[in-house]
């Protein structure tokens, strides 16, 4: 292990709100940094892009993090660690293939007009509502929720019920053990009802498709795994995208010259979305927790010892051996193979959907509102502590 000093507290503090944390700057001085997770357990953060990318494809790192003695992220919440779900190959790849077919770019492009339509409706409602508006509640959350509900066959109105439960399900230190458990149980019952409703009346949606697989071959997808995947798709379908819509718009509005550049040429939007994803002002590497099954040597000779808990750092998006001027937002970057969606076989299954929603959101909001601006000083943007993601709780905007 290359680190012998006291472990640094992780995730790093976001202060000031629209800047990359200072800790990200010298992080790569060492290839491996010992960090302390919110649970109090420690983990080894792999800091350099080259190592991170290689380790995402290294089968000596297991994603079955419910395995003892993997470090825990939260003191009172198992989060995504479930001993009954096998997240390693070959099992994982077979299950993943059942869902990824619905998330290919080719299929998703057919949904783009719907995303534009929903964006238009939400902006109509913003126009009719009070100003300033909170972009998170008025736009960033409802847009991906409407789309994932459409794909899964979930009534969009259900979000009144599932959002609070998901919030508790993803608590790191925000809630007490009792509240986490209440949310976990509540989410479980909700999903059971949802799946039963689809069994009774199947439709042309992803939940019905998963049920067909489960009914035809329970070995391919058991009842338990079915529930797991529906939950995963629902949560992953909106929480991260909503957070990224809010934070990336705040970052953009804080850099008016880039907004102006985009308005002059909207074909720059996909590149801007990609760069804002690289910039990652709402996430941390908690989602990349792994368990080392064997000693693994890094490119500089440092060794990740067998039995350690490892995180593959999204902060490696700032590795200046790969990204020129990494702390600058450059929407014309052409080589932008960032680690925000991970890499290897666990590459975010919803990445193409997220990209499309982010592109439509960015272009839609900038087209509709030529004077869109933050309605509070940027220092007042606040990140609620103790959640899995570090999105702003509100992004007040005026136009």
């Amino acid at each position: 292990m290359s680190s012998s000093s006291t472990p640094v507290s992780y995730p790093f503090a976001w202060d000031p709100p629209l800047a990359v944390p200072d800790r990200w700057r010298d992080l790569r001085d060492r290839s491996l940094v010992e960090v302390q997770l919110p649970s109090g357990d420690t983990a080894l953060l792999v800091t350099r892009y080259r190592d991170v990318r290689a380790l995402f494809s290294d089968r000596r790192l297991s994603r079955n993090t419910a395995r003892y003695p993997t470090s825990r992220i939260s003191p009172n919440n198992d989060l995504f660690g479930d001993p009954e779900i096998d997240s390693d190959p070959p099992r994982y790849l077979d299950e993943r293939a059942i869902v990824t077919r619905a998330f290919s770019a080719r299929r998703l492009e057919a949904l783009r007009p719907l995303v534009w339509q929903v964006a238009g409706e939400l902006m109509d409602a913003m126009d009719a509502g009070p100003r300033p508006a909170d972009l998170m509640e008025a736009f960033a959350f409802p847009l991906p929720i409407r789309i994932i509900c459409h794909m899964l066959g979930v009534p969009p109105g259900d979000n009144d019920r599932f959002r609070a439960l998901v919030d508790g399900f993803m608590s790191v230190t925000k809630m007490s053990a009792e509240d986490v458990e209440r949310c976990r149980a509540g989410l479980w019952s909700y999903l059971d009802e949802l799946i039963e409703a689809h069994r009774a009346a199947p439709g042309d949606d992803l939940i019905s498709e998963l049920i067909r697989v489960n009914t035809t071959d329970p070995n391919a997808l058991s009842d338990y795994q079915l529930q797991h995947w529906v939950r995963t798709l629902l949560i992953a379908g909106y929480v991260t995208t909503a957070s990224q819509i809010g934070t990336s718009m705040a970052v953009l509005l804080n850099q008016p010259h880039i907004v102006e550049e985009l308005r002059q040429d909207f074909s720059l939007v996909p590149g801007a979305v990609e760069e804002l994803l690289r910039f990652q002002l709402m996430g941390a590497s908690l989602g990349s927790l792994r368990y080392a099954l064997a000693d693994i040597e890094l490119s500089d000779g440092a060794v990740v010892p067998a039995g350690s808990t490892v995180m593959l750092s999204v902060e490696s998006n700032m590795d200046d051996t790969v990204f020129e001027n990494p702390f600058e937002l450059d929407i014309r970057r052409t080589e932008n193979h960032h680690m925000t969606f991970g890499s290897g076989i666990h590459y975010c299954a919803g990445a193409a959907l997220a990209r499309m929603e982010l592109q439509v959101s960015t272009e839609g909001l900038l087209r509709r509102y030529p004077k869109l601006r933050l309605a509070v000083p940027k220092e007042e943007l606040a990140r609620p502590a103790g959640g899995f993601l570090a999105a702003f709780s509100a992004v007040p905007v005026d136009w």
């Binding site: 998703l108 080589e335 590459y347």
Partner: protein
């Protein structure tokens, strides 16, 4: 001197990131399962840079590019 490239893509390694389809849509497509397919294994020079980028960026290194002497 090499002027041509030959592209191969391994659908068995593909995990449907869709990145290649965005980066080089003239060369890559997806089958019904979302797995990579090739539209043009010997693409013309104007697509070479995008193909290289797609190969470098593929999360599971499912795309290989070789120079081919013309």
């Amino acid at each position: 001197m090499s002027t041509g490239i030959r592209v191969t893509a391994d659908a068995g390694r593909c995990v449907v990131s869709s990145l290649c389809v965005y980066r080089a849509p003239a060369v890559f497509d997806q089958d019904d399962d979302g797995h990579v397919t090739l539209l043009d294994p010997r693409p013309p020079v104007e697509h070479h840079e995008a193909v290289w980028r797609a190969a470098r960026g593929c999360p599971t290194r499912a795309i290989q590019v070789e120079f081919e002497p013309s």
